[in-house]
C-alpha cells in the first residue's frame, strides 16, 4: 500500500488553509495526510476574529471582500455547499449568500478649500453573475479591453456631473472612420481639442486611445513628437475641464478622477503597456502617484480623495508613516482594473459576522471532515535545512526538520476543540478555552498571551523530522514572522534575505464601538458607506450594523462601527524580550481612538456631541454599568504589532524580490501567503488564496495554473 504523503502546513491564515483545502480534496483520494500547525488557539492569521463579552465580534481590523475575489469566493462557496450537503441542508453556517451580502456604495473624504471635510460618494451598479462563478477562458480583459472600459468609466463619471458649459460646441465632427494616417489621427484630436462640450471632451479622451495606436505604430523617430502632442492634448483637456467644471466641490472631485483616468490612458500608451510582454509589471518600479504624475496628472488630483483612498484602503504607508505613502504602480493599476471592471454581483461584499466565523470556522469544519489534523498551540521556531553552505540561485536544498514551541497541551492529550457556539453558530472565542488545557487555570491567571510574539512562555518543545513526521512543508506564516522562524534559511539564502528586507510590512490599528443610536441619528447622511480617505490615523471606517444580530447582547445595540488605519513604527524595532511592547502600543491605540471620537468624528456624526461640544459617551453600548469617558473602556481596540499580524505592502520594485510558491529552491517546501509572488501581489484575501492554490499546485500539480483566476493576467 502506498503511504500517504505527509504535509505539514504551518499557519492557519487564508494562504495556508487554501493549500490544505486543495490538497485534501476528495479527488486526491487521500494522497496527502495533512496536519495544520497553528500558534495559539484560533485560525485566521490576519483575518482571525473572536467572540468577546456579550458574544460580540472582535476583529483584527475591517475586512471587506471585493467582487473580483473569484478564487476566494469559489472556495467559500464550495465550502458552504459541502457543509450544507453534510448536514442535510441544515448547516449552522447557512448558505454562502447569507454569509456575504453585496454592498454597492463607497464614500471618500477630501479636505475642501475652506478646511471643511467634503464627502464624495459613488454607487457601483450590480454586475452580472456572482463572484466565484466559473469564468470562460479568456474572459478576463486584456489591457486593451481594460483601457476601453476605463474610458467607459470616464464617460460614466462625466455624465454623473451636471456641466454648465460656457462654450458652444465648435468644429466639425472628427472623421473617426478614416484614421489611416498619423496626420488624420492628429487632426481629429485637434478638432476635439477645440470643442467645448463635455461630450466632446470625452470623445477627445477616447481619441487618446487612437493616439495610443499611433504611438504604438510609429517608429522611434516619431515617438517623441507623438508623445508631445499627446501630452499637449491631455493638457488641453485638463485646461478645458479646469475652466468649465469647477462649479463646486462635487465637480472638483469628478474632474480629479477624469484627470487621473486621462493620466492612466496617457501612461498606457507612453509606456507601451499594450505591447509590453511584462504587462503591468513594466511599471512596477514606479510609485502609483509618481507614475500618474509622470503621465500628466495634476498635483491636486494626486492628492484627491480617490488617490488617498487607494493608499488608505491598502494601508500603503511605509513604516506606518502617513508622510511615506508607497504603492507600486503596476500592482496599483492592476488592482484598480480588477476592482472596477471585473467584479460580479457587487463591487464590495460584507460579511454577516466576523471573518473567523464566516470564513475560518466553516473552513475548519470542512477540513476536519476531510481528515485534516490540527495542532493548535504550536509556534514554529525554526525550519532546519539539510547541511551545506550558502544556497546560491539555482542551487537546491530541502527541509530536514521543523521545531516548534508547544505553548500548551490539552487535558488528556485530546485534540483541542477550538469553537464555541454563539447564537446557534460555531465561532472562535477571543480567548483560549482554558478548560480544555492542562494548567489552563494557571495560564488564565498568569495571562499567557499565546498570540504575542513577545510572550515566549511554553509547555514544551517538539521537533519534526523529514520522512518520519513530514514529507512536504507549506510555510504559511506571514512574512513578518519569517525572520524569526526561518533563521537558518536566511543565514544561507540571499534571495530570502533580500525578500524579507524588501517586501515590507506595516503595523495597523483598529477600534470598534457599539452604539445605542444608529449613524442616521448621529447625523450621518447617506447609506452605510465603506468610507476611506478620512482623517488619520483612523482613515477608514464602516458601519457594520449587519453583524450585531449575530452577537449575544442582553440589550442589542443599534449598530457597531469599525475604524482602522496604519500604526506608525517606533524609530527602532522592539527587542524580542520587550514583553510589554504590545500592551504599550495597545494603550496608545486606546488613547488615539478616544481622542478620535472627541475630535474628527465630529465631521461624520455631528449629533454624537452634546450642547457643550463633548462626545456623548452614553451612546456607547455596554452591558457594564459605566459612565462618562470611562465607558469607552468597555469597547474594543487593538494594535496589530505582532510580526505575523503586520499587513504586507507592495512598494515599488519589491515584486522582483518576492518568491513564488512554485520556486524549487527547497524541493520539499512551498510557501503560501499574500507576501509571495502569487500573481496578484497585494495584501488581501484573494492574493492569499491564490498563493495557497499555487502552493497546492507546487506539491500536487493541481489545480492547473490556468484554473487560478487572475494568475495569468497583464
Amino acid at each position: 500500500m502506498v503511504r500517504p504523503i505527509k504535509v505539514a502546513v504551518i499557519g492557519g491564515g487564508c494562504g495556508a488553509l487554501t493549500a490544505a483545502y486543495e490538497l485534501s480534496r476528495p479527488e486526491h483520494d487521500g494522497r496527502f495526510a495533512i496536519t495544520v500547525y497553528q500558534e495559539g488557539w484560533r485560525l485566521g492569521g490576519k483575518g482571525a476574529s473572536g467572540r468577546g463579552s456579550s458574544g460580540r465580534i472582535e476583529e483584527h481590523g475591517l475586512h471587506i471582500w471585493l467582487g473580483y475575489y473569484d478564487n476566494a469566493f469559489r472556495m467559500m462557496r464550495e465550502c458552504y455547499a459541502d457543509l450544507a450537503g453534510a448536514a442535510g441542508g441544515r448547516s449552522p453556517y447557512g448558505h454562502w449568500r447569507e454569509a456575504f451580502t453585496p454592498e454597492a456604495d463607497i464614500g471618500l473624504f477630501g479636505l475642501g478649500e475652506r478646511g471643511v471635510w467634503q464627502r464624495w460618494a459613488a454607487r457601483f451598479p450590480p454586475a452580472p453573475g456572482l463572484p466565484g462563478d466559473p469564468r470562460r477562458p479568456g474572459e478576463l480583459l486584456s489591457l486593451v479591453g481594460y483601457t476601453a472600459r476605463t474610458i467607459g468609466l470616464l464617460r460614466t463619471l462625466l455624465l454623473d456631473c451636471v456641466v454648465e458649459s460656457k462654450e458652444t460646441p465648435a468644429g466639425p465632427e472628427p472623421d473617426f472612420a478614416d484614421l489611416s494616417t498619423i496626420d488624420r489621427i492628429l487632426s481629429a484630436c485637434r478638432i476635439l481639442l477645440d470643442r467645448g462640450a463635455f461630450a466632446g471632451a470625452a470623445v477627445l479622451v477616447e481619441a487618446l486611445g487612437v493616439l495610443g495606436a499611433a504611438l504604438a505604430a510609429t517608429p522611434e523617430a516619431f515617438d517623441s513628437a507623438v508623445v508631445r502632442l499627446m501630452e499637449r492634448s491631455v493638457k488641453g483637456l485638463r485646461d478645458w475641464l479646469e475652466a468649465n467644471t469647477l462649479l463646486g466641490d462635487r465637480h472638483q472631485y469628478v474632474w480629479e478622477i477624469v484627470d487621473l483616468v486621462v493620466a492612466y490612458l496617457a501612461g498606457v500608451v507612453r509606456f507601451g503597456l499594450l505591447t509590453d510582454p511584462r504587462g503591468l509589471d513594466a511599471i512596477e518600479d514606479y510609485d502609483c502617484r509618481e507614475w500618474l504624475r509622470t503621465n500628466g496628472a495634476s498635483e491636486r488630483a494626486l492628492q484627491s480623495p480617490f488617490v488617498c483612498g487607494l493608499y488608505d484602503l491598502v494601508l500603503a504607508f511605509e513604516g506606518g508613516d502617513p508622510e511615506r505613502p508607497s504603492l507600486s504602480a503596476g500592482q496599483g493599476v492592476r488592482a484598480g482594473l480588477r476592482m472596477f471592471f471585473t467584479y460580479r454581483g457587487a463591487i464590495f461584499w460584507r460579511m454577516r459576522a466576523g471573518m473567523g466565523d464566516v470564513v475560518f470556522a466553516p473552513l475548519y469544519d470542512v477540513l476536519r471532515r476531510r481528515g485534516v489534523r490540527f495542532a493548535f498551540f504550536h509556534r514554529l521556531t525554526n525550519v532546519g535545512l539539510a547541511e551545506g553552505g550558502e544556497i546560491a540561485p539555482g542551487m537546491r536544498s530541502h527541509v530536514e526538520s521543523l521545531t516548534f514551541d508547544v505553548q500548551a497541551e490539552t487535558v488528556d492529550g485530546m485534540d483541542y476543540q477550538p469553537l464555541l457556539e454563539v447564537s446557534g453558530r460555531p465561532c472562535w472565542p477571543s480567548r483560549p478555552r482554558y478548560d480544555l488545557l492542562r494548567d489552563g487555570e494557571r495560564y488564565q491567571r498568569e495571562d499567557w498571551s499565546f498570540e504575542s510574539h513577545w510572550d515566549r512562555r511554553r509547555a514544551g518543545e517538539k521537533t519534526l523530522k523529514v520522512t518520519e513526521d513530514f514529507d512536504f512543508v507549506v510555510l504559511g506564516v506571514s512574512i513578518g514572522a519569517v525572520p524569526h522562524v526561518c533563521r537558518e534559511i536566511l543565514e544561507r539564502d540571499e534571495r530570502w534575505r533580500r525578500m524579507t528586507r524588501e517586501v515590507q510590512t506595516v503595523a495597523t490599528q483598529a477600534f470598534q464601538i457599539w452604539l445605542d443610536e444608529d449613524v442616521d441619528q448621529l447625523g450621518w447622511r447617506g447609506p452605510p458607506y465603506i468610507v476611506s480617505a478620512f482623517v488619520k490615523p483612523f482613515d477608514t471606517w464602516c458601519d457594520m450594523a449587519q453583524v450585531v444580530p449575530e452577537e449575544a447582547w442582553s440589550r442589542r445595540p443599534l449598530t457597531v462601527v469599525y475604524f482602522c488605519g496604519v500604526l506608525q513604527d517606533p524609530p527602532a524595532p522592539p527587542a524580542d524580550d520587550d514583553e510589554d511592547y504590545p500592551s504599550r502600543r495597545t494603550e496608545e491605540v486606546r488613547r488615539s481612538a478616544a481622542d478620535f471620537l472627541r475630535g474628527p468624528v465630529r465631521h461624520l456624526w455631528p449629533q454624537a456631541y452634546g450642547p457643550n461640544g463633548d462626545f456623548r459617551w452614553e451612546i456607547l453600548a455596554s452591558d457594564e454599568a459605566t459612565s462618562g469617558s470611562a465607558r469607552f473602556s468597555t469597547q474594543y481596540w487593538r494594535a496589530n504589532v505582532n510580526p505575523s499580524d503586520r499587513y504586507v505592502l507592495q512598494t515599488p520594485g519589491s515584486f522582483r524580490h518576492r518568491i513564488s510558491p512554485l520556486d524549487m529552491t527547497y524541493d520539499n517546501l512551498t510557501i503560501a501567503g499574500d507576501w509571495t509572488k502569487c500573481g496578484f501581489n497585494t495584501g488581501c484575501v484573494e492574493a492569499a488564496v491564490m498563493s495557497g492554490l499555487l502552493a497546492a499546485h507546487a506539491l500536487s500539480g493541481a489545480p492547473p495554473l490556468d484554473r487560478i483566476v487572475g494568475f495569468d493576467h497583464p
Binding site: F341, N668, P714
Partner: protein, 251 residues
C-alpha cells in the same frame, strides 16, 4: 516507496504568471460588468474603432509571427525585381510597425507582395517545397551546425543593438532563433559576472529599420560598471531560449 525515502516536489511547468497584455480576450467578456450601461454608443463606437487599430496591429503581428515561425518564407525571399513594393514595405514598416512581426503583417496585407509570394511559393511547390503561401508546415527545423550565414538568415532573425542613456556600450550583432510558436521576445536583463554590477533591465525590442531583423534598444545608465553583460532572449510563450545578447559596457 519505502518509509525512509524522501519525497521531492514535482517540477512545475513554470513559476511566473504570463503577463502578456494581449493574453486575455481582447474583445473582453460579452457581458462586461459595470460601466457598459452608461456609455454613449457613438463614443463607444469611436473607442472600439481606435482600439481596433491596436488590436489589428497586434493580431496581424501575431499571425505573421505564426506564419513566419512555420518557415514558409523569410524577408530575404522578396524577389529583387520588387523594388517598388519593397520600398512600400519599408514605408509601411515605418508607419505601422514596432516589431519585425508587424512588418510581416504588413507584407501579408499588401496584394502586390502576396502575388509575388504566391508565385514564388508555387515555384517551390513544383520543386517539392512549400505547397503555398498560406500553407502551414511543421515548426522550423533546428539550426544545423556549420550552416552558412546565408542559410541562417533564412531561418533566424538578426539581432542588432541600439544604446541609449548616459553610458556607452558596444556589441556585435547576434542571431535569434525563430520561436516555435507565435510569441514575442522577452528577456530577464543583462547580467555581469561582477557581483556588484547591477543588471541592465531597460531593454526593448523593435523592428530593424530595414525590416530584416530585430533591434534591442538598451538603456546604459550613467555610471554603469564597465564590463561584459549577457543574458538570454526567450520567447514569451514557451520561455525557450531564442538566443543570447552579449554587450560590452565601455568606460
Amino acid at each position: 516507496m519505502t518509509q525512509s525515502e524522501r519525497i521531492k516536489r514535482p517540477e512545475p511547468e513554470r513559476d511566473e504568471p504570463i503577463r502578456n497584455p494581449w493574453a486575455s480576450d481582447a474583445a473582453g467578456p460579452t457581458d462586461p460588468p459595470g460601466s457598459e450601461a452608461g456609455v454613449d454608443e457613438v463614443i463607444a463606437h469611436a473607442v472600439r474603432l481606435g482600439y481596433r487599430v491596436i488590436g489589428d496591429n497586434i493580431e496581424q503581428g501575431r499571425a505573421a509571427a505564426g506564419r513566419f515561425s512555420q518557415g514558409d518564407y523569410g524577408v530575404e525571399d522578396v524577389p529583387d525585381d520588387l523594388g517598388e513594393l519593397a520600398a512600400r514595405l519599408l514605408h509601411l514598416g515605418r508607419e505601422m510597425s514596432v516589431t519585425a512581426f508587424d512588418v510581416m503583417g504588413a507584407i501579408l496585407r499588401d496584394p502586390g507582395l502576396r502575388t509575388a509570394f504566391s508565385r514564388r511559393s508555387q515555384a517551390r511547390a513544383g520543386s517539392g517545397g512549400s505547397t503555398g503561401f498560406d500553407a502551414h508546415k511543421p515548426a522550423a527545423k533546428p539550426s544545423r551546425p556549420g550552416a552558412s550565414s546565408s542559410d541562417r538568415a533564412k531561418r533566424d532573425l538578426r539581432l542588432t543593438y541600439a544604446f541609449a542613456g548616459g553610458g556607452r556600450a558596444d556589441a556585435e550583432p547576434a542571431w535569434l532563433r525563430q520561436p516555435d510558436e507565435m510569441a514575442m521576445p522577452v528577456h530577464a536583463g543583462l547580467h555581469s559576472p561582477a557581483p556588484d554590477a547591477p543588471p541592465l533591465r531597460g531593454i526593448t525590442f523593435s523592428a530593424a529599420p530595414d525590416g530584416l531583423g530585430v533591434v534591442a534598444r538598451i538603456d546604459i545608465p550613467d555610471g554603469q560598471p564597465p564590463g561584459v553583460y549577457s543574458g538570454a532572449v526567450c520567447d514569451s510563450k514557451s520561455h525557450h531560449v531564442l538566443g543570447v545578447m552579449t554587450i560590452t559596457v565601455l568606460r
